[in-house]
Symmetry: C2
């Protein structure tokens, strides 16, 4: 029997579920009142679903007992960190939500074997603050680093600005402790630089979006904070074709930026308007971190491709100011007063220019505004669709634009997601990508693996692979 | 019904299996005579099993048709590259062996998106020769690079000397084309810098040792050949404790060597004896590649820990000579005229000294000779057990020593394999490691995943996870 997915009234003191959970984690760690459940009923993209009850477990053993209980009663279970997911992955109607943030201990910083072992509920920011004391860092840096948790970042396989150089979360996980849907505890992988004992279940958990089990602890690779800081450049171009050619040529010239971001004219306009700045409102703005030895070659490439401005930050303040342009983009766009949908498509780097021009074409056709920013070095585009939430036609136009953005990405050999994941939002599009690229067998195997881990279908049900 | 594993007479011209396979790949691409099957009946560690027939497919479609045929007839199928496996993974009694080496094309070198796409049968050496033309390389460098294939390296999740800096094969695979045991073709992953669409089946294939499907093509990340070469040092120490302390301190000092190898006194003695060299026969010899800026700090660490010799290679010739000490070790040991078993244990780097002393203790207790070399920077030890093949007692002693080496590794938080894999050799020890570290649920999930991919049990049966 699959788990029930229909809504259920939130249990109250005296209700058997409330009582059982209170017996495990203490009544003070339950959230069941409608007003307090609100916080857990929405993710950062506005996907909504009200849980039955929230538990804030304090230990792996509590997680194990809660999952066992939910399994026996066939109630959905959803692990949750900050709820900063953008795809509906962290909300589930009628579910027992596990707010993992009480489990936030750093268990070990190993400066010889270069790993950190931590509980799932610590934020990436706190993790990095702790690592900084020893001169180390954990490279993946999602925009939500100040609130998002290790468990959430593992479940989503998150990316970030530094990932062009360092890769995403999947490249940094050595081992995981997991409470399985059957209530048993397992460890996947080993806290070792090398390990070939058994199939790789670690990477199956990374990006599984809470559908295979609850990550309680992670052992993550860390590296020393680099001694030499790269130089930061701000560039503008008059058209995307030139900017895109410059990006491709930089990579073809074997230059590996530490960060390589882009923003379009409308994003810069939003920033200037809302944050009272006066940045150059060019068609394309790039912000690039380049190591000193490659600076000359990089500048030459940018100028050869018609950059109308190439500015190197002259000091740490200016470096921070350049960075702020990128990091303030979302806030500035929010300030435009429209509903916002942040998309996440990956295309081959040499098709970036073509894709960005297509974005504008789709926007014009659908009559919605689409701003773009993203990670140029790995072809990861974040189109931001603006629409009017109260207008049915505008909502429909935004939805059609979103689907078209994904489908065009698939058609040029891209992926519907680089770092945000699938959740409920893209389950149908995941199926389309699999059919177009991987083949239906790949999706079938994923669905079978889901059943192996979760035969009763209690873990974050009705989403992602299961729903594709 | 599971595949039959008992021996069968090799089919001949006129036999229906022979005829069917000749119809797919051509009679000239079949090997069925006993004398020619010999080459396919043994791996590099001497694990023996005679296949029914060998086919040398020329295309993915042929592989698909062969696997379908084997599936219908419930005959085991084993993909094979050079057969350089050391664990019995590439030999299987009565099987249809797919010698993949005719499928050796480089399909695409993408210097913008930094990947190479190639068929499974190309050797790593030929792949790197092709990449060198564009100034790129594929970092993992198993000792068998001159013969081992991309498919074999993916199936085994191979490591090598450069892996201390760059990681093993698992860190370099973007996507794979796979013929599944049901004869269907799937693609796993995408040739993109980032991709979060679906569960990670790529990493499930890496290190699956031919038990989940046949890899026909791989898309591998590549990086530019570094402009600045590190400096190469040769060091000797009078005891393992000091050498091991130096290794740990180097890593704790945030120095990342590009290569960090070690050899013991008896290995150096074997080299001096068999290759007429006159290397310092110290208890511990280290060969380290260090980037120039860290050279002073590294030298200081080595000297502080009592290195009796710290020599920097003065030119490319001397660099090559230092490298040859390491790469000739196996040949020199072979020259001792004994049967040789090369082991592959990983321990936390800070327990390396303790482990190496235990190796000598085990050797003394069991009355066998055990030489050691390996990759110091990632704690990967290759004990080389010498024994007399014709002496039952010596064989038994070697076997007990081998098991003890693995078990002691497990007991100090290590792994029974870092880069050679499990095969038939370590299936029982895999179970022991899982029980001790990961828990039995992890192994159960692996076995279930094997059944999902291969319900009829035709792919490289009776080994690894299935046999654990």
């Amino acid at each position: 029997m699959r788990a029930k997915r229909s809504g259920r009234r939130a249990p109250r003191s005296g209700d058997p579920l409330w009582g059982a959970l209170a017996g495990i984690s203490g009544a003070q760690n339950l959230v069941a009142e409608a007003s307090r459940l609100e916080e857990y009923s929405e993710d950062m993209a506005g996907f909504r679903a009200t849980p039955a009850i929230v538990v804030r477990p304090g230990s792996e053993d509590e997680v194990r007992r809660i999952v066992s209980l939910a399994g026996r009663r066939k109630i959905p279970v959803v692990p949750r960190g900050a709820g900063s997911s953008l795809t509906g992955a962290s909300v589930s109607k009628g579910a027992v939500v596990l707010d993992m943030r009480r489990m936030d201990a750093v268990l070990k910083v190993d400066t010889v074997n270069w790993y950190v072992s931590a509980q799932a509920g610590i934020t990436l920011e706190d993790l990095n603050k702790r690592l900084e004391k020893d001169g180390f860092f954990f490279p993946p840096d999602p925009a939500s680093s100040s609130i998002c948790t290790v468990g959430g970042a593992v479940a989503e396989g998150s990316g970030g600005l530094r990932c062009v150089k360092y890769g995403t979360v999947k490249d940094w996980v050595l081992s995981l402790r997991v409470v399985l849907p059957n209530g048993k505890v397992a460890s996947f992988g080993e806290p070792l630089a090398k390990n070939r004992a058994g199939f790789d279940l670690v990477h199956l958990m990374v990006g599984s979006e809470g559908t295979l089990g609850v990550v309680t602890e992670a052992c993550l690779k860390i590296i020393p904070i680099p001694a030499a800081k790269p130089k930061r450049l701000l560039l503008t171009f008059d058209d995307w074709r030139s900017a895109s050619d410059a990006i491709s040529q930089l990579k073809a010239s074997k230059i590996m930026p530490h960060m390589f971001e882009f923003l379009d004219r409308e994003t810069i306009q939003a920033i200037n308007k809302n944050l009272s700045t006066s940045e150059d409102e060019a068609e394309a703005t790039l912000i690039v971190d380049i190591e000193e030895p490659s600076l000359g070659a990089a500048t030459e490439i940018f100028e050869r491709n018609g950059a109308r401005k190439v500015v190197m930050a002259k000091d740490a303040n200016e470096e921070e100011a350049f960075y702020q342009i990128r990091s303030m983009a979302y806030l500035a766009i929010r300030g435009l007063g429209k509903a916002v949908q942040v998309e996440d498509i990956v295309v081959p780097v040499d098709r970036l220019g073509e894709y960005l021009m297509k974005v504008k074409e789709i926007a014009a056709k659908r009559g919605v505004k689409i701003l773009v920013n993203g990670h140029a070095g790995d072809g990861n585009v974040h189109p931001v669709i603006l629409y009017d939430e109260d207008d049915k036609k505008s909502r429909a136009a935004a939805f059609h634009a979103f689907e078209e953005l994904c489908r065009y990405g698939i058609s040029v050999g891209g992926s519907i997601t680089g770092e945000h994941g699938v959740g409920t939002q893209k389950a149908k599009l995941l199926r389309e990508q699999m059919k177009a690229h991987e083949g239906e067998e790949a999706l079938r195997l994923m669905k079978e693996i889901k059943k192996v881990f979760d035969p009763e279908g209690i873990m974050n049900p009705g989403k992602y692979v299961e729903a594709a």
